[in-house]
């Protein structure tokens, strides 16, 4: 199509059809790219969710390991490979998001991006006990030389962090039955409270963030209720928290010996099988 044709009025049916043909090509191009990016975003969401579950498992599965630091580092180490896999998916998107295309498709990749940030920030918290910064997140979505795949939208960063508070609530409550869990829950409580306060200042700029704050408030309340229950009960006994944890652990251990549930089952089965050999 020459520029001459493009500038003249469309005076015939043919010229109208011709013009709409090029509109079709443009719209098809956009819609096809949109579909590809949505698929990619779904893949990223899937991997990110799996990573979050992996992180939870890593910090709760090992009853013998009491050192938080060790568990946190282990979680971060396991996360590394998975995070790189997700980052390479973002890198693969880059050619489709050049120039003004990024903002044309931002909504299509937003869900995956937020889920990724939720997983990333969770791994970061387990390792460093801090909130990952905007610049740090942007760095993970950049080339080794620092060139970003795309500019991280501030809203996606904030919404991803907001979702993190939900995972931290689960982390805190799952930690309570373990040794030193009460202290951990209390620390998480303080942290989430601070996050909620920081986000509150930013809510005027984001309707989505305002909505998520309600969920954050509920998560915070759950942690607060759990922490309260723990304090009230421990105050009834005049013992340090770690000794109380040991008492509870002993009770559980004795119960595990008598049933087929509980982590000591392997040891007990081995002992049982020794008797079986003798009988045979």
């Amino acid at each position: 199509m020459t520029t001459m044709t493009a500038s003249r009025t469309l005076t015939s049916r043919d010229s109208i059809l011709h013009a709409f043909e090029s509109f079709r090509d443009e719209l098809d191009d956009f819609n096809d790219r949109r579909e590809r990016l949505i698929k990619s975003s779904r893949d990223i969401t899937n991997l990110s969710k799996k990573l979050i579950f992996l992180l939870h498992r890593t910090v709760t599965e090992d009853a013998a390991e009491a050192d938080d630091r060790v568990l946190g580092l282990r979680a971060a180490a396991r996360a590394r490979g998975k995070l790189e896999e997700i980052q390479s998916l973002f890198a693969a998107m880059r050619p489709e998001l050049t120039g003004d295309r990024f903002w044309h498709h931002q909504r299509n990749i937003s869900p995956g991006l937020q889920e990724y940030i939720e997983a990333l920030s969770f791994a970061h918290y387990l390792e460093h006990r801090t909130l990952i910064s905007y610049d740090q997140v942007q760095a993970t979505l950049s080339d080794p030389d620092g060139t970003p795949f795309f500019t991280l939208p501030l809203e996606d960063y904030l919404l991803g962090l907001s979702d993190l508070t939900g995972e931290l609530m689960r982390f805190a409550i799952a930690a309570i039955p373990r040794r030193g869990g009460r202290q951990k829950a209390s620390d998480v409580c303080t942290f989430v409270r601070a996050c909620k306060a920081d986000f509150e200042a930013l809510t005027p700029h984001s309707k989505e963030l305002r909505k998520k704050q309600h969920v954050t408030a509920q998560s915070l309340e759950k942690i607060e209720d759990a922490t309260y229950a723990v304090v009230v009960r421990t105050s009834e006994y005049d013992l340090p928290p770690e000794l109380l944890d040991d008492l509870v652990a002993q009770t559980l251990s004795r119960a595990a010996d008598l049933s087929s549930f509980g982590e000591d089952t392997r040891r007990k089965r081995r002992i049982d099988s020794m008797y079986d050999e003798d009988e045979a």
């Binding site: 500038s7 009025t9 005076t11 709409f20 509109f23 719209l27 819609n31 909130l131």
Partner: protein, 220 residues
Amino acid sequence: MDSDNLEKINTILEADVEIREKIKEHVAEFDKKARTLSGILNRIHSTRAEQLPALLGTAQPVLTSCKETTAALADIIPPHQFWKWKDMWSNCLRSAVFSVALVEYLQSGALISLPQVAETLGIKPEWQDRFMLSVEDYLHGVINLVNELSRLAVNAVTLGDFDQPIKISLFVKDVFAGFAMLNLKNDLLRRRYDSLKYDIKKVEEVVYDVSLRKLAPSSK
């Protein structure tokens, strides 16, 4: 959150807020102009063919003044951020496209092309990643044109112009054929396109009435 991070966030936010405020100002201006155009052009339904050029003449200065607004907006938008902000002026722009297309139809009987609309509204090609006339905005404007012409067909007959509805019928059917070529998603554009068939039906009924009663010059 540490203070460095908060500072970074607030810097980004403040920049965004500033842009948003500036855009709002100009969009308010744009909105006024679009409505003025709409108001002027509404009179076509009660204006005889001879007085039409004069009426369209009064619309011209308003159209020209739109160029200032589009230039001002293009100036505010940072590079590559067209799609981030475009929803703020989309409605005004579609209304302006409609007005431009209507004027063109009344003057030449033809459909104005997208590049021509852009030129009329002062939208320069070099602004492309900051401010442009998107295909969607153009198409919405054209659909509005068809809606308006189906109404004009009826009112033209009332004013004694029995030729206009025949011309409109041929025109809107060609436009509809163009739209039929698009692969649309289930969005607003798709729903608005679906409404075109009612306009065509309405115009056909006028044509039917006019032809049967041998009112149209071509049917005599």
